[in-house]
């Protein structure tokens, strides 16, 4: 910059005009970027969608052994009031051969309440097993009818093409019988 060169500082052949070209080009890129971002961002969830991003649920009406399905962010969430037997099986199976290793105690906040995202980790179908009349699969949890994945009483994948356990959504217990998912 400070080097003095003959003919007014065109040491490397760069001219005032080159500078103007680059400055104009750079400014145009910035302007285009500022315009493109709203075009991209408008496709992200809108404020009303974000406002529905959490779901509250009263657990007191769910008897032991029952399960309910609630909607959270457009997806089903399985809430199962597990029996003592189911809890015991889940804990025993902590040491079984699990494709996606996870301890039952890490997947629940209170052992009797198993709360899962009801979407098969294979290709997104909703597994069966919520209603008493539905097939629960070989491990007593859920069974995905699309491609035959079996989940156990902790929602862990045990058999079939799904690679991962059923997801656990973020949730908090507001009090003993109310939860907020999301």
């Amino acid at each position: 910059m400070t080097t003095t060169t003959p003919e007014g500082g065109h040491e490397d052949g760069a001219t005032r005009r080159d500078f103007l070209y680059i400055a104009t080009g750079a400014m145009s890129v910035v302007g285009a970027g500022l315009f493109v971002w709203p075009l991209v961002d408008q496709m992200n969830p809108s404020a009303d969608v974000l406002a529905l991003a959490s779901t509250e649920l009263d657990l007191s009406a769910i008897e032991e052994g029952q399960a309910v399905t609630v909607m959270w962010r457009g997806k089903p969430v399985f809430v199962r009031h597990r029996t003592a037997e189911e809890i015991a099986t889940a804990k025993t199976d902590d040491s079984a051969a699990l494709p996606d290793i996870a301890l039952d105690s890490d997947r629940v906040q209170k052992a009797e309440w198993l709360i899962l995202i009801g979407v098969c980790t294979h290709l997104g179908c909703v597994p069966l097993g919520q209603k008493s009349t539905e097939v629960k699969g070989e491990y007593g949890g859920w069974f995905c009818p699309c491609h035959g994945s079996h989940y156990d009483t902790s929602g862990r994948i045990r058999k079939g093409p799904a690679p991962k356990n059923l997801g656990v959504p973020p949730y908090v217990f507001l009090d003993d019988s109310h939860i907020r998912i999301g």
Partner: protein, 411 residues
């Protein structure tokens, strides 16, 4: 490869298979000779092109959130304004962009009128321009219906009712347009479909407009033909750069309306949901229709008003033959130049009349201005061209712009 723009091997590979680079170069590059004296009035064409692209881009994203249903359209527009990320900005850009598109096109048209750009050999170029203008009017009208507010609904009712003026089949045609016995849900849905379609029709017409332009080449402020290479400059970089300045001004003006005064050109009544039982006390179309609206109301006859309004645009098709002067540019036409500016003022008067209620003096002024509008084309253009003695034309563009000596040197 002889083409100067094709520099890399990749470009050459493409060029031999699809001569896209030489096409661009011959269209807007160094190989497109452009009269060297084009002033900023000539920037409005490319600015209108930018406005069209802006309308298409913002329109496509708005259509991702808009619901074309009579029960949901209004709420979906409010959803865009309140909930969709940047939805308010995109909608205001689209609404104000439409207005600025018309501003650009109106200036572009008046420029053509002043400098005689409609005269031989540019008649088809002019015609495609009028077709674009007609398609724009249809698109803008249907777009204004989509928010399904009071002005949308009643504007649609008034405009579509014009078709009932058609003798014999008027009622049937209007019922067919509505898809019912009044403007209602079916009307809204077909308007949405057509509002999405027409911009692409305009885009195609714009291509024909440009094809005709690149065949006859640009007119220029002197209105004389290009005689030698000395009269021209390559489009790039001279006019690409000049057009970019115009784009910058356009975007600054757009930003002013979008960010500081977004509802100025709209009507508050359109923030009231459409109600088929209550007509707003004062229905006015968007500003860009006002002069034609004034012509419609100037005639105390239903069919007559509609015919005259349509005629006000269709008459533009025949002005290449109504104008009898062999000189293009009004710069060299002392008499016509005065009439041109009277015509401009008359157009503004028509717009002002269109914005006011049809009562008292407004009716009289509206009728005089309407009569003058047609007189300009039917009387002034043929008669002035016939008796007017034009000023002497320069020998060439180069001679006028660079001075006679340097023009001779070039020869």
């Amino acid at each position: 490869m002889s083409n100067p723009g094709v520099t890399t091997q990749v470009m050459q590979w493409v060029e031999t298979r699809l001569p896209i680079f030489s096409f661009i170069n011959h269209s807007v590059g160094t190989e497109y000779p452009t009269p060297r004296n084009l002033n900023y009035w000539w920037s409005l064409g490319s600015i209108a092109g930018v406005a069209l692209v802006l309308q298409i881009v913002t329109g496509i994203v708005l259509a991702m959130h808009y619901v074309p249903h009579a029960d949901m359209a209004f709420d979906s527009v409010e959803h865009i304004m309140r909930d969709v990320n940047y939805g308010w900005m995109l909608r205001y850009m689209h609404a104000n962009g439409a207005s600025l598109f018309f501003v650009a096109v109106y200036i572009h048209m008046f420029r053509g009128l002043y400098f005689g750009s409609y005269k031989a050999p540019r008649e088809l170029l002019w015609w495609f321009g009028i077709l674009i203008f007609l398609a724009m009017m249809a698109t803008a009208f249907m777009g204004y219906v989509l928010p399904w507010g009071q002005m949308s609904f009643w504007g649609a009712t008034v405009i579509t009712n014009m078709f009932t003026a058609i003798p014999v089949v008027g009622e049937a045609v209007t019922t067919w347009l509505w898809g019912g016995y009044s403007v209602a849900g079916p009307t809204l849905q077909r308007f949405f479909s057509l509002h999405y379609l027409l911009p692409f029709v305009i885009f195609a017409l714009m291509f024909l407009h440009l094809w005709a332009l690149h065949t006859s080449k640009s007119n220029n402020p002197l209105g004389i033909d290009v005689k030698s290479e000395k009269d021209t400059l390559p489009f790039h970089p001279y006019f690409t750069t000049k057009d970019l300045v115009g784009f910058g001004v356009f975007f600054v003006i757009l930003a002013y309306w979008v960010f500081f005064n977004p509802n100025y050109m709209g009507h508050p009544d359109n923030y009231i949901p459409a109600n088929p039982l209550v007509t707003p006390p004062h229905i006015v179309p968007e500003w860009y229709f006002l002069p034609f609206y004034a012509i419609l109301r100037a005639v105390p006859d239903k069919l007559g008003g509609v015919v005259l309004m349509l005629g006000a645009i269709l008459i533009l098709f025949v002005i290449p033959w109504l104008d009898t002067s062999r000189v293009r540019s009004a710069t060299f036409r002392p008499v016509y130049k005065g009439f041109f500016w009277i015509f401009v003022v008359n157009g503004l008067v028509l717009g002002w009349i269109g914005a006011n209620p049809p009562e008292g003096a407004y009716i009289i002024i509206g009728r005089i201005a309407t009569a003058y509008y047609f007189a300009h084309f039917i009387l002034v253009m043929p008669i002035v061209g016939w008796f007017e003695k034009p000023k002497p034309l320069p020998d060439s563009i180069a001679a006028a712009v660079l001075g006679d000596d340097s023009a001779k040197e070039a020869n």
